[in-house]
């Protein structure tokens, strides 16, 4: 932990009522382990207590600290500042979500769509398949990969041009319900995604899978929905 240095942060600022957003610059001392989230907390603590951002778990499990760092969607809590290796680190809020203030966006519209997939939080765990299940435990279970961070929605080039597009997070969740229904109805999911603003609207830019921090691979899931729908349509035609 020898190396220490100062890095310049250029941070997007906006408060409701402002004419327009602007950027503030802060110098922050960092070491080899400092994350963008820790640097922003240090700014808030030592330089400007009015800076707001969303954060909670600090280990890429809650999905609240999604933002754009040097133009790329990331979780601030697992983004190492030194590894960015740029003289200035630019931090901005996510795209394709209404701006609240500073680095905070309103996740309401994201959840309006996402919840329509009806994906339960708990799935079967595929880890350690050779292990026995303990007495009294029905099956090995775990939380879903998707942490609802919105990085994929921010990065998707289609979402910004088609506000009705269901978007990569909701479509990925829909595929999970098809793959593992857990009491939900896959037929409703198929009907929901099989529209011009559903899985057929994707341009296969695959930005969503590029930025996903949690191994969801939304682009793959959207292709899987298309594949299943095509198969079903063909078998309906030809029996």
């Amino acid at each position: 932990m020898a190396e220490q240095k100062n890095v310049q942060f250029r941070v997007f600022r906006y408060k409701q009522g402002d004419q327009a957003p602007h950027y503030d610059t802060f110098n922050v001392p960092i070491n080899e382990r400092t994350t963008v989230l820790e640097a922003l907390q240090a700014i808030r603590r030592d330089q400007d207590s009015t800076l707001i951002l969303r954060h909670s778990c600090h280990h890429a499990s809650c999905g609240t600290c999604g933002m754009r760092v040097n133009g790329r969607e990331v979780l601030a809590c697992v983004t190492n500042v030194m590894e960015l290796d740029t003289p200035v680190v630019t931090v901005e809020p996510l795209e394709n979500a209404p701006l609240v203030a500073d680095l905070v966006v309103d996740m309401g519209p994201f959840y309006d769509t996402f919840t329509q997939a009806h994906m339960p939080l708990i799935r079967q765990s595929e880890f350690l398949p050779e292990s026995e299940v303990a007495e009294g435990v029905p099956y090995h279970m775990r939380f879903e990969n998707c942490i609802e961070c919105g990085l994929c929605v921010s990065a998707c080039p289609v979402v910004s041009t088609d506000p009705e597009y269901l978007g990569p997070a909701a479509l990925a969740a829909a595929w999970r319900v098809v793959e593992e229904p857990r009491g939900e109805d896959p037929e409703q999911v198929f009907a929901w995604v099989d529209t011009e603003h559903g899985c057929w609207r994707c341009h296969v830019a695959m930005e969503c899978s590029e930025v996903c921090p949690s191994n969801v691979n939304p682009g793959h899931n959207i292709m899987a929905l298309r594949h299943q729908l095509t198969k079903r349509k063909l078998s309906a035609l030809f029996g």
């Binding site: 707001i52 954060h55 909670s56 499990s61 609240v100 905070v104 292990s131 435990v137």
Partner: protein, 386 residues
Amino acid sequence: MANYHVVIVGGGATGSALAHDLTLRGVRVTLVERGEVTSGTTGRHHGLLHSGARYAVKDQESAKECIEENMILRHIAPGSFELNDGLFVAITEEDLAYYDDFMEGCAVCGIPTRTLTREEALRLEPNLNPEVKLAVQVPDGTMDAMRLPLRFLATAKHNGAVIKPFTEVLSFLMEGKTVTGVHVRDHVTGKEYDIGADIVVNAAGPWSEKIARMAGVDVPVQPSPGVLVAVWGRLNNMVINRLHRSGDGDIIVPQRGLSVIGTSSWVVDDPDKLDVPEEHIQLMYEKGAEMIPLVKHSKMRAAWSAARPLIGSRGATTGRELSRTFKCFDHADEGVEGFVTITGGKATTARGMAETTADVVVKKLGLDAPCRTREVVLLPHTAYYV
């Protein structure tokens, strides 16, 4: 019923559960939180739904609270937990010597146990250290540290509570020695304003001492951080605990696609200044590997610190000697009316902490309104946003 207004300071697990409890009892609630909800200690904890077994020998009051709340949470928050149970594993002869005290403590506290042979334990968790002597199965589980409290907030909000994140308390409104509200800054607009209250509840966790000072009272809270390390992959499906007196790096909580090793314990004065000491990260790797050797070769996803709000004894040095139970202070006892602090405790016991606090609050208001949070099933976490 008179329309009393209570302001809660702090949007962590405790404040969230209290907003839910008081709203169900017919009290008008406004919750203010300096940052995003759950951005303090709550979101950063281990994610362990405690069976209480960890405290069954040394801190039986906490242990009993944990097992009772564990069972209530399963009922009111279905679908929010990885319910794979937990194992306490004896690796050394010294661990084995702790077994009798452990079993007796669990029995006294009402924590169900099942003792497994080495072979049985290895069939359940093949990555365990093959040196394992025996294991004890207990009803531990994994919670999502943010999404469980969001269910309390979502339900409170849909029942009429006003939740105000990014709203920082700058000072207290006082009439003589009576608290009458808070003066806040809304960081979304940059504007300052007053919120009047019949009672203000301080639920600021490790920041509660700082908040209490604004009303001229002292609460003996000792911020006690711990380091946690998340590694890629699930090395275990059950929660793995070391069968010994609580120490460093002796719990591995599997969660989502990660395994979280924790924790260490020291004390600080300022909960906003938490380091992640390199030697603590290494300690988590070393101690974790004593239970699951694969830890040693697992790639780190994140390392972070979270500050527990332990109830003092200012002379504490490591925090381990302090109880994990909670305490509700009615500051009328110190001559300040209209002001209550709830602190200490754990995420697992947040609902119980809220019940105790709401009992104090409604009594102060002269209301006869029983607690309903043991039965009311919570809305899903997504309802907080929708």
